[in-house]
């Protein structure tokens, strides 16, 4: 099976499964492999190659901190540190109550608002540690 063919058949199915369950559990990957008769190892390889696919259950709020240059020069590192502290999470982690998942991304593309982050699709810009605290301080359910 060539890589290209595997990918072209696989990706739509992975997307569908992720839409349905929110992430790709190992059982789901195994079923997809069996269905498409593609080796499980290949399915895993493709699923991990694309950042859009999640292999673990995600939090309700997906928090992404921008690591772009503009954010970097305007104190992105402090925003990240504060967010980590507030959420008690490291990059890539999900809180045990599945409320938050914390990630960093190369650039959100809202450089004018640097430093910034997104919560689900919503951009929060011109941040400082106080604003971050307000975003995540206590009221986790917002």
């Amino acid at each position: 099976m060539s890589d290209t063919r595997a990918r072209s058949q696989l990706i739509p199915l992975l997307q569908k499964a992720q839409q349905k369950w929110g992430y790709l559990a190992s059982e789901a990957l195994r079923e997809i492999a069996r269905e498409l008769r593609i080796p499980e190892s290949k399915v895993y390889g493709v699923a991990t190659f694309y950042a859009q696919f999640k292999l673990t259950r995600q939090g309700k709020r997906s928090v992404k901190i921008c690591r772009g240059t503009a954010c970097h020069v305007r104190g992105g590192a402090r925003i990240l540190a504060e967010t980590k502290k507030r959420l008690g999470l490291q990059e890539g982690e999900t809180s045990p109550d599945y409320q938050h998942t914390l990630e960093t991304v190369a650039c959100i593309g809202a450089c004018a608002l640097a430093p910034c982050l997104t919560i689900n699709e919503e951009v929060h810009g011109r941040l400082n540690t106080i604003k971050v605290a307000a975003l995540f301080g206590g009221e986790e359910d917002a």
């Binding site: 890589d3 190992s26 008769r37 080796p39 499980e40 190892s41 895993y44 991990t48 292999l55």
Partner: protein, 911 residues
């Protein structure tokens, strides 16, 4: 893969190409790459991702060259050599770019050469030293990723991995397992076992192809020692007969490698061959001294005591009850020479024809069935031909686990476009990649074969010319088969008529079509006739008597073919020579200087499967068993054990204290395969040499010598100086072996019988112009159900088989810690639906109960026909054969261990 596909493609016309490399004229074949042309010309080019057995990859870029008229620096491994090419392998520019490239590779490599297990044969070291690049900075780098030490045989250290992809490609292209692949991306890219977790949780089959090819220390064996000398031998673990090279240091085997020159396995091995030999041979549990049972306990004895006692007891029994009160069970695990002498001992010395071997439990139906249909009871083709078939019809063979290197060959063939039809109740690995999977109920092979034949004829797809010229019996055949429409067979087999039709058409249209089958067909009381219905398929399509076209039973044990050839079967003299042919009988009487025992005028013959009743009836009093654990491997072993316990005298010759040996009066310690000279005959009729590589532990003796010493004490001198002399005697009595000699076996990678004279090259496939019996015989045979069918009390049909890691009674494989770690206990496979209905989860402990007994096993959920459960039979703690059936095939006496009715009881207390 991103490789340039042209390399390795079939050349338009075979032609030599001339090119210039570094100013020197070089020649190569069309289709070779520039890298291969360089190697042939003896020119070194640094490479890290090239492996001659794999498709070119072009990943490491170290093999780049300059080619006149071409822009850039193409990689030689992916560049097809072309006429007139002018290639430079060295220039200041090349050197600089190569060094940069290597430095980039080294930047991601963390490890200390001095404590690396690959030190000294690491390709990364070699390339660095060639390019003058210092690989020491690697030492200073902190390894950041955890090492995966989860599997018992080798470790994976991603810090040392250079992502050359050789392991991934070897696993996919050679083994066809696809157990590993690259995952993640960019700097995170990592070779990852399937499932994304640890190696041990993946579907790795531990063939070791990745391990032996990894150019760095990323994949490294747990134990490795360099050898001081090498001895060629044959794997002792299955009928494939993979050729191996034993690495010896002092008096121990320290390494095992596949023999690349062997046409049987081309260097490939399975987990048993690669990782299961050393610990079995050098196990501290080996028997090392003769043992005599006194007051219920074994006490050590010297050889004279033990042998004298045996001679005396055999003598007494014969005097009291006649020669027929003695029996010998020879072995599919010992060498031909020992098998030959064991049957000679029975027939010429003890005077009994009660001699048999473990072929009775497996392929006796093939010997009889194919003999009846074709005239010769062995594989019609060679193993290598399987990979060349257009279509493979696989029936009742879980090849991936039972004959692993053949199984990987079938996967490779399928990856290259061979069509595969797999008939098996379980969704075995090969069923997953098959074009058509026919999940039939166990024991309905004849109905399936009849329906395939019906559809072939109904569609006019038969080879009428072949049928007219080379077969007989059509009327009788059709009288039965005409009612086996696919629809009718659907009711019996559980396979949809539509699938049966597609399979029939695929097989009949596949030129050449090849049938491969195994014990799923034979281990039933209908084994012989089922084999004949399968042979019918080859006869109506004409798919027999050509390369890659025939009917091929995969023989189970390393020398089961040889044991049958040597006449360790009551119904045949050596070389399948016949009791009803006075010339054959006279030949042996003259050679052995005795009258042969009277036989088989009085059928039924006492097959070993009938010996148990024979003992219990008081007809058989003394038994000599060599290398077979009947108390574990026969059907319904409660009866076998009872019979063995009621013998007056039982001698067991063994490597280990098996459950059978426990019941003996005298136990004799035998030398193992690596400790003797001799020959094994593998499934494809290939006679191969094993050689004495290490001394035996303690006082073990070669099997053939022990037989001689018993014979001498019984007054029939057997004075052979060595195994070669025994072979000389037997080959002169067996026309098929006539041209095989030890000397020729040094020159050839084994010789395939028939090999009638010393100029004969051996025979790759049988029945070329004429069947051994003249015309091929078509037969009409009705499907009979298994003796036991599920009912209310026992609602499941149990079928049995092997797992990859263990070998039959497991006396050898249970010595191997890694194997025990992988498969520690008995298991029962059940379909997801049945498991749900019973409220079972994977890992639950259950009792599987039949009319004959009960065993405990762990539940494993798997795709298998509903109403069917599967168990392996390796574990002596919970032996599956306590519950299997011993209903016998009326023709050849093989027990129906592949079908019996059971129920599954949840354990009251789960552990």
């Amino acid at each position: 893969m991103t490789s340039v596909a042209v390399v390795g493609a079939k050349p338009a016309s075979p032609a030599t190409i001339t090119l210039t490399i570094d100013g020197v004229r070089a020649q190569t074949q069309r289709g070779q790459s520039v890298l291969e042309a360089c190697r042939e010309a003896g020119i070194y080019l640094p490479t890290l991702c090239y492996d001659p057995d794999l498709e070119p990859y072009g990943g490491c870029r170290l093999c780049m060259v300059e080619v006149e008229g071409m822009r850039g620096l193409p990689t030689a491994c992916t560049l097809p050599a072309q006429e007139g090419m002018v290639v430079r392998t060295e220039s200041p520019q090349l050197d600089a770019v190569r060094r940069d490239t290597l430095e980039l590779i080294l930047a991601d490599h963390a490890g200390d050469c001095l404590i690396c297990r690959k030190n000294g044969h690491c390709q990364l070291q070699e390339v660095s030293s060639y390019l003058g690049v210092d690989c020491r900075p690697a030492l200073l780098r902190e390894p950041t990723r955890p090492v995966d030490r989860s599997n018992p045989f080798f470790d994976f250290d991603p810090n040392k991995c250079i992502l050359c992809g050789i392991c991934v490609r070897a696993c996919a292209e050679l083994q066809g397992a696809h157990a590993i692949d690259f995952a993640w991306r960019g700097l995170e890219t990592k070779v990852t076992p399937s499932g994304g977790g640890l190696w041990i949780d993946s579907n790795c089959e531990y063939c070791g192809e990745c391990l032996i090819r990894c150019p760095t220390g990323a994949l490294a064996p747990k134990n490795s020692q360099k050898a001081s000398r090498y001895v060629k031998s044959v794997c002792p673990y299955c009928g494939v007969g993979c050729s191996i090279r034993l690495g010896i240091r002092g008096d121990r085997i320290v390494s095992v490698a596949g023999d690349k020159e062997s046409p049987v396995n081309n260097g490939r091995l399975c987990v048993k061959g690669r990782f299961g030999i050393i610990e079995a041979v050098h196990s501290p549990n080996r028997l090392t001294k003769p043992l005599i049972k006194r007051d219920g306990n074994f006490v050590e004895a010297n050889w004279d005591e033990a042998l004298d006692l045996i001679a005396q007891k055999f003598h007494e029994i014969r005097a009291q009850h006649g020669p027929e009160a003695l029996g010998v069970i020879a072995s599919a695990r010992i060498a031909n020479e020992a098998n030959y002498l064991a049957q000679k001992l029975a027939r010429a010395v003890l005077g009994t024809n009660k001699v048999d071997c473990c072929a009775r439990i497996c392929h006796a139906p093939s010997v009889h069935g194919l003999l009846r249909s074709f005239g010769s009871g062995a594989m019609t083709n060679s193993l290598a031909e399987i990979e060349e078939a257009h279509t493979i019809l696989l029936i009742g063979s879980n090849t991936t686990e039972a004959h692993p290197t053949v199984g990987s060959g079938i996967r490779r063939a399928v990856q290259r476009g061979t069509k595969l039809i797999a008939a098996d109740p379980r969704e075995i690995e090969l069923a997953k990649i098959a074009d058509i999977h026919l999940p039939l109920r166990p024991g309905t092979d004849a109905a399936l074969a009849n329906a395939l034949a019906h559809h072939i004829i109904a569609q006019g797809l038969q080879n009428q010319k072949f049928m007219d010229e080379r077969t007989e019996g059509f009327e009788e055949f059709w009288a039965v088969v005409q009612k086996y429409t696919p629809e009718y067979a659907e009711g019996i087999t559980g396979v949809s008529a539509e699938k049966i039709k597609r399979a029939a058409e695929l097989y009949a249209r596949g030129q050449p079509g090849m049938i491969v089958y195994c014990l799923g067909v034979t281990e039933h009381r209908t084994g012989v006739v089922s084999v004949q219905t399968i042979a019918n398929l080859a006869l109506i399509t004409g798919f027999v008597g050509q390369p890659s076209s025939g009917v091929n039973p995969l023989r189970g044990q390393n020398n089961v073919q040889g044991a049958c050839d040597m006449g360790a079967l009551p119904e045949f003299l050596p070389g399948y020579q016949r009791w009803d042919n006075p010339e054959h009988v006279k030949k042996f009487e003259d050679a052995w200087g005795v009258k042969l025992p009277k036989t088989p005028a009085h059928y039924p013959l006492i097959f070993c499967s009938r010996m148990w009743d024979d003992i219990l009836k008081g007809n058989l009093h003394g038994l000599y068993i060599i290398g077979e654990d009947v108390a574990l491997t026969e059907g319904n072993i409660s009866k076998v054990r009872k019979a063995l316990q009621s013998l007056d005298f039982l001698v067991v010759q063994e490597l280990f204290m098996t459950p059978t040996a426990e019941l003996a009066h005298v136990v004799l310690p035998a030398a193992g395969f690596a400790e003797i000279d001799g020959t094994f005959t593998d499934s494809e009729r290939r006679v191969q040499r094993v050689r004495k590589a290490v001394p035996s532990p303690g006082e073990c003796k070669p099997d053939w010598q022990i037989v001689c010493e018993i014979s001498n004490r019984l007054g029939y001198p057997m004075n052979y100086q060595n195994a070669d002399e025994v072979f000389e005697e037997l080959r002169k009595l067996m026309p098929n072996y006539g041209g095989i000699t030890y000397r020729r076996l040094e020159e050839h990678p084994g010789l395939q019988w028939p090999c009638p004279d010393e100029a004969h090259p051996g025979t790759r496939f049988l029945h070329k112009e004429k069947f051994t019996r003249g015309l091929g015989k078509l037969v009409g045979i009705e499907q009979e159900p298994p003796e036991e069918v599920p009912d209310e009390e026992y609602p499941f049909l149990l079928t049995t088989g092997r797992v990859l890691q263990h070998y039959n009674c497991a006396s050898m494989t249970e010595q191997v810690a890694g194997v025990v770690q992988l498969v520690p206990e008995n298991l029962v496979e059940i379909s997801p639906k049945d498991a749900e209905a019973l409220g079972l989860k994977g890992g639950d402990l259950v009792r599987v109960v039949s009319r004959r007994g009960a065993v405990k096993a762990r539940v494993k959920i798997r795709q298998i026909a509903e109403g069917v459960v599967f168990m392996p039979f390796h574990h002596k703690e919970e032996p599956t054969n306590l519950i299997t059936n011993d209903a016998l095939d009326p023709i050849c006496g093989t027990a129906e261990v592949k079908a019996c009715a059971v129920r599954i009881e949840k354990r009251i207390k789960t552990l």
